[in-house]
C-alpha cells in the first residue's frame, strides 16, 4: 500500500506531532465519543472533585497519540494493537490557546510477520501524560 514508511529499523523516529486542545475540542470529543463526564467541561465540578480544572478526556489524548502513528503508517488499518496508560491529567485552560500536546515516537522492536512496535512519548507542558503508549503496526 502507498504511503507506508520504507526501511524501518529499530530507532526509526516518527515525525513529531504537536496539537492544541481547547475547551471547544473537549466538547466536540464528548459528543463524538459519548463520554459526557462533567469533569471534561465543567470547571466547578472538576474543582469539587479535586482536579486543578477541566481536564481532557484521556481517550482524546490517546486518540491524538494514535493519530501520530496512523499518519506515519499511511493506513490506519495497519494499527493492530494500541495500548495506553494514563499518568497525569491534561488540564485545559479556559482560553483560546488551550493545552499543547506533543507526541514523539520511535520504532522500539521489529516483530514477526512484518509488524513493528512503536513506543510513544506524549507530553503536555513538558510533562509526560501517558506512562505507557505503545502501538503494534503491521507494515507489510
Amino acid at each position: 500500500m502507498s504511503g507506508r514508511p520504507a526501511d524501518v529499523q529499530v530507532g526509526t523516529e516518527l515525525p513529531e506531532q504537536t496539537s492544541r486542545v481547547t475547551r471547544a475540542d473537549l466538547v466536540r470529543y464528548a459528543g463524538a465519543s459519548g463520554d459526557l463526564n462533567v469533569i471534561h467541561w465543567n470547571e466547578r465540578v472538576a474543582r469539587e472533585v479535586g482536579l486543578p480544572g477541566v481536564i481532557a478526556h484521556g481517550m482524546l489524548t490517546a486518540g491524538l497519540a494514535a493519530r501520530a502513528v496512523t499518519s506515519w503508517a499511511g493506513d490506519p488499518g495497519a494499527v493492530v494493537d494500541f495500548h495506553v496508560r494514563f499518568s497525569r491529567p491534561v488540564v485545559v485552560p479556559d482560553d483560546d490557546a488551550g493545552a499543547e500536546l506533543t507526541v514523539r515516537g520511535r520504532v522500539a522492536a521489529l516483530l514477526d510477520d512484518g509488524r513493528v512496535r512503536v513506543d510513544l512519548t506524549v507530553t503536555s507542558g513538558g510533562e509526560k501524560v501517558l506512562s505507557l503508549a505503545r502501538a503494534v503496526v503491521a507494515l507489510s
Binding site: S33, V49, T70, D75, P76, V79, D81, F86
Partner: protein, 148 residues
C-alpha cells in the same frame, strides 16, 4: 472497599447490535482533528484495500464505554463512579472497524485488584459482528480512588 476477587471472569449479556455509521466515523475523526480520507471517503478507503470507510484505532471506545457501564452498574461490583478515573486502555484489532459493521459487545471482568486503598477494575469488551466475526477486543482499567 476492596473488590471481590470472585468477580473475575464474570461476563454480562451481549449488547444490542450497534451499527457503525459513516457519519459517526467522520464525526469521531473530526474530533481528533484527523484529516485522513480513509475515515470519510469510501473510494479512498477502497483504494487502501478496505471495503468501506474505516474507523480510527480508538473509535472502539464508543462501544466499549457503553458496554463497560453494565459492569460499573453491577451492584456486586459496587464501585463509586464519582471516584473513578481511567487508568489504562488497550485495543486489539482483529481487523479495522468499518462503516456498515453490525457489532455486538460483550463485557467480561478480566481482573480486579486493590493497591493502597485504590480499587482497580479491568473490563474486557469483545466486539464481534452479529455473525460472530471477531473485530476488536478492548481492555479498560478503571481506578476508583479510595476515600481520603
Amino acid at each position: 472497599m476492596a473488590l471481590d476477587a470472585g468477580l473475575v471472569g464474570r461476563s454480562y449479556p451481549p449488547s444490542a447490535v450497534y451499527e457503525v455509521g459513516r457519519e459517526k466515523i467522520a464525526e469521531f475523526a473530526a474530533a481528533l482533528a484527523d484529516p485522513d480520507p480513509v475515515y470519510r471517503d469510501a473510494a479512498a478507503a477502497r483504494a487502501a484495500g478496505h471495503p468501506d470507510v474505516i474507523a480510527p484505532p480508538t473509535f472502539a471506545i464508543v462501544l466499549s464505554l457503553g458496554a463497560g457501564n453494565v459492569v460499573v452498574d453491577d451492584p456486586d461490583v459496587g464501585i463509586d463512579y464519582s471516584r473513578v478515573v481511567h487508568g489504562e486502555q488497550r485495543f486489539t484489532h482483529h481487523r479495522p472497524i468499518r462503516a456498515g459493521d453490525r457489532l455486538v459487545a460483550t463485557a467480561t471482568i478480566d481482573a480486579v485488584k486493590t493497591v493502597a486503598g485504590n480499587d482497580m477494575l479491568t473490563t474486557r469488551v469483545d466486539l464481534v459482528t452479529e455473525d460472530g466475526e471477531p473485530v476488536c477486543t478492548t481492555r479498560s482499567m478503571l481506578v476508583a480512588r479510595g476515600a481520603a
